[in-house]
Symmetry: C2
Subunit: 340 residues, 2 copies
């Protein structure tokens, strides 16, 4: 990942997930691992964006509710430590909606419509003309989430950079309009490791594409998934030279196999010819089983104590709310909306 | 005004003003008088829509802040009784922004753009393509204000009826989507007495047109305003027959002169010829001075005790917030956003 600029005050990270399904290896590589590392050096807020998830899940709100706990389990299972990171539930902090409300006055409809991320997602979700207003305006909501915690670093994929730019536009406009330095600009923190492809070879691992391996996957599910992993379609006989590019088995081994030297040897053998896919997949299975077994075990252990999970969420949300409420007070004061 | 349908549970009224300037005779005729009457028979919430006022006043937030107290003074001076009506400050109830946030998912951008009231106001304010998002989405905010208090009656002008329709669309969609009867539909309560024209004869009395007589106007200001009141431009000589139509002096006398018989006589005389404008205006001045003197006196008396005004606003807002918070809890529960 790109190295965040050091500053005198400790950097604040805002990150999170829309709780619409269990997290998978794609999340692990793209964000969870980083969060586990970040939490030692930064003040980190991790948001379960349940309110945000409703923008395109109004027809299945139960799914969002259920997955809040599932995603929280994933967080704790991979090593996010609630004593170091603040895990919060978005909908339980009304100040985030309040900030959104005010920020909507600082961005024009035309500007929102030009936002490349919003444009791409409108196409992706097939909204066409029937875009829910909450979807068009979600950059303002994202700006609220970021600025409420005065986050200076926001880990995002390349495709989300326009959202960060939009946030900073609103921040600058707010500070300029009110003549006060209330809000803080943020930087995108784009991980160096790109997106993990799906087991089918598609560019993105995604629940809706059915090409994921979940963090909580059982041993049998892992075995079944590895069997389906896309390799080299031209590698028909063992003795044929194989290709590494687009070969998901090797992409995953690159990402997860801790034995780099043995992996390099295996790659060379594969390219040379004489190494069957089944051997490669066998290694991949060992690697994934070894990596996921302790995560699954922690997850199962934690899942037995729902009370503990809820307490973690409650405490994190309360702590986060204090920060957000302070920002909302400052924002309202700057807008002349303080009376009592 | 149209008679509200009686129902088994007492009707709830939601009404209010954008605090962007002192209230004037137009407000008095169009709404304040009705509110004074309604408060005996209905549960009435009167909202100082300061947050809403920002949608087109981000460049002068101080104006909004100042006018919250001014408008509250106007309310109390005309006889709105804080023991009977609940006066609240919109920005101090975060649940209103919260409800807005969720309702934005229940209305499409295209639908908002088709709203005739929004369309007309976009033209009126000269926004063209640079419409602040908060302005386009304000029907969702209005829906939040109405539904937070489960208002069944909303006093509005004819031109605001599309806003009420939009609110009811969101209400129906929410109840249908969640399968719960949480939100309540409302009816527009359109006053029979139309809009009071400005002193210059323009259809609307409006601060921005500079054709108002404020409720707190001094005796000298009333005198000066009456001098400027538009009458009959064809009534050049006293002996000429005069016209009543569009004659603002008579429009105001119709609205405010308690001596109906004498007024009828005066009108006949004017139409016949032989009655000068100065006599008509003299009567108008007497009527307005008599009507506004006690309001101004109460206003001046109340203005001395800012602490009392702030206490009224604080108490009303606290009471209203309890109701709105209950609704927001129900709304979030229906959306599956309850956890602790």
């Amino acid at each position: 990942m790109s190295t965040p600029t050091p500053s005198t005050s400790p950097s604040v990270i805002l990150t999170g997930d829309r709780p619409t399904g269990p997290l998978h290896l794609g999340h692990y590589v793209g964000s969870l691992q980083n969060r586990v590392a970040y939490q030692h050096d930064y003040q980190q807020f991790i948001m379960l964006a349940d309110a945000q998830a409703l923008t395109d899940n109004m027809d299945d709100t139960g799914k969002v509710h259920r997955n809040v706990v599932e995603v929280a389990l994933d967080y704790l299972a991979v090593g996010i430590d609630p004593a170091k990171s603040t895990i919060l539930i978005q909908s339980q902090i009304p100040e985030l909606a309040e900030l959104t409300f005010y920020y909507l006055n600082l961005v024009t409809v035309a500007r929102l419509e030009r936002n490349p991320t919003v444009k791409a997602e409108i196409v992706l979700r097939g909204f066409e003309r029937d875009i829910p207003a909450g979807f068009l305006t979600y950059p303002a909501s994202q700006c609220a989430d970021i600025t409420a915690f005065k986050a200076t670093l926001v880990p995002v994929g390349e495709d989300q950079i326009p959202m960060i730019e939009q946030t900073n536009e609103i921040v600058r406009r707010f500070n300029r309009t009110t003549g006060r330095d209330v809000l803080v600009e943020c930087k995108a923190l784009v991980p160096e490791i790109g997106r993990l492809p799906g087991i089918d070879g598609k560019a993105k691992m995604s629940k809706s594409l059915g090409n994921t391996i979940n963090l909580g996957a059982s041993a049998a599910e892992i075995t079944a998934a590895v069997k389906k992993v896309y390799t080299d379609p031209l590698h028909l006989r063992v003795e044929d030279p194989g290709h590494l590019e687009g070969n998901i088995a090797f992409v995953y081994l690159d990402a997860f196999d801790p034995e780099k030297a043995a992996l390099a040897e295996m790659k060379a053998h594969y390219v040379r010819g004489g190494l069957g896919d089944s051997i490669v997949k066998k290694r991949l299975e060992v690697v994934l089983q070894e990596m996921l077994a302790p995560i699954r075990a922690r997850r199962e252990e934690l899942a037995k104590d729902r009370g503990y999970i809820m307490q973690v969420l409650k405490d994190g949300t309360a702590k986060a709310r204090e920060v957000a409420a302070r920002t909302a007070d400052e924002v309202k004061a700057a807008l002349g909306l303080s009376y009592f």
